[in-house]
């Protein structure tokens, strides 16, 4: 007997979302998160938003990082001491993560959209990146992205002046916490 939940989950297929830093593994996250939205409210940069139906039925109302709205400051900025989202999460869906174990995802570049790669004068991504070496420059001053060092803060994505942006933030390489 297939439940309504199952049917709706199949109808609105879940997308892979970039989760707040320290989020537990996805299957547990979906169950543990009560969709209260406190993390989104508390986030100082406004990067955490709540997923909509287009993000998936099971995912609806859960928090995700949207780099088009802001960057995660766990690595540098107002959440350096501890992540405000983790502090306020009532269920433990988001747990404490150290800066050295931090990785919400990776920034990836579409070079055909990049002003620098097209010969123009822009290296804003390189300027704002808080992790030394995550973005390097070729001899022609074109930015190259190193996902092994990238923590997925999204600051480069937010700052990119390309129209459309040359950068996106994806959950690739993300590190999740073990649910307690």
């Amino acid at each position: 007997m297939i439940s309504l939940y199952k049917i709706l989950s199949l109808q609105f297929e879940g997308k892979r979302l970039v989760r707040p830093p320290g989020s537990i593994v996805e299957e547990a996250f979906i169950e543990v998160c009560i969709k209260c939205g406190a993390c989104a409210q508390k986030c100082p940069t406004g990067t955490i938003v709540l997923a909509t139906l287009s993000d998936g039925f099971k995912e609806l109302g859960t928090p995700r990082i949207d780099a088009l709205r802001g960057a995660c400051e766990r690595i540098q900025g107002r959440c350096e001491e501890d992540a405000l989202c983790e502090r306020v999460c009532p269920t433990g869906a988001i747990q404490r993560v150290d800066q050295d174990s931090l990785k919400t995802g990776s920034a990836i570049i579409t070079t055909v959209r990049c002003i620098a790669w097209s010969g123009g004068s822009c290296l804003v991504c390189y300027e704002v990146c808080p992790v030394r070496g995550a973005i390097s420059l070729t001899d022609e001053a074109h930015p190259v992205f190193h996902s092994d060092l990238c923590v997925g803060c999204g600051r480069c994505v937010y700052a990119c002046p390309g129209q459309p942006k040359a950068l996106t933030l994806v959950p690739d390489g993300e590190k999740r916490s073990i649910p307690r």
């Binding site: 540098q76 107002r78 123009g120 004068s121 290296l123 300027e127 704002v128 937010y158 700052a159």
Partner: protein, 352 residues
Amino acid sequence: MENSKRKHESSKTPINRRIFLGLLAGVAAAIAGIISLDSILPKNARPEKSTLATVATRNFTNTAPGSGAVSSQQDRVRVVVVKGSATVDPQVLIDKALEALGGVERLLPTGASILVKPNVGFYEKDATTDPRITAAVIGALKQARPSKIVVGESALRGIDVDQALQVSGTRNLAEAAGAEVMDLRKDAVASIEVPNGLALKSVNVFRMARDSFIVSVPRLKRHAETTVTISLKNMMGTLPDSEKARFHQGNLSQCIADLNMALRPRLVIIDATKAMTGRGPTGGIMVDLNEVFASTDPVAADIVAAQELFLAEGVADARVAASNVSHIQNAAQLGVGVSDPSKIEVLRLSVS
């Protein structure tokens, strides 16, 4: 008798009820339409326009002879370099520099509204102007008896200005020195014309920048895109994010030159107490130069300071390298200031 009376009364009846209600609705709709037009359009989408006259004449007026305005023909433009040490009070450096330019009262009119624009664009302390220098500049400017001094910054997109002002120590020291401290992003935006602009006809800037005498207080640094970032590049902090993006989408060096033509700083004081070498605007190697540069000509100041930076790095021909910096060249060609060494007088002083 009755009939004629009734007829007479009906010719005096007031306007038809339907017509009256229709007129009322029409007038109400017209008023609502006019009001909504004004409130629907967001403020920033309709920046105020300023004419060339108001902004440019203020910025290009000669102050004292030899103090370095654009139109100076016989007199050379002066760039003062004051060298101190780690133990010298920054106020002493700043005071000495401004004295050598003729004194603050000569550089700024009384009652001026001043915008002090340090570099507070990053969360990294090394990448920003030393807050003690900013505070010392405020202290010195008070002698010109300004109507107000505002320290303002807009920072790179994605950097929170209040956070940057906090971690750099700028907010505390600047407020203690008696200035207001402002996140320029909260200000309204105005459009100003660029006289003889090559990349831009007009530029959107924060209103505080348009309406104030600007004192540009950058930190001397290398820059991955523009080779160096000094007082000319520092002026990008007067732009809203959308305008910064436009600069990067076009010819950045020319846009920087054009911006400085429209919004020329009245005075520049370069924080070279520490300078960033090797790479920038973040992550470079800091060297202690213990110097400040000051001038009323941002082009001259930048080219002299750039040369100093390259010397510190051990670049082969520092003078040629400095003159090759694109945005400095563009600014000189446009007439923002002077880059020809024979027209620049470098006055070196030291304080112990």
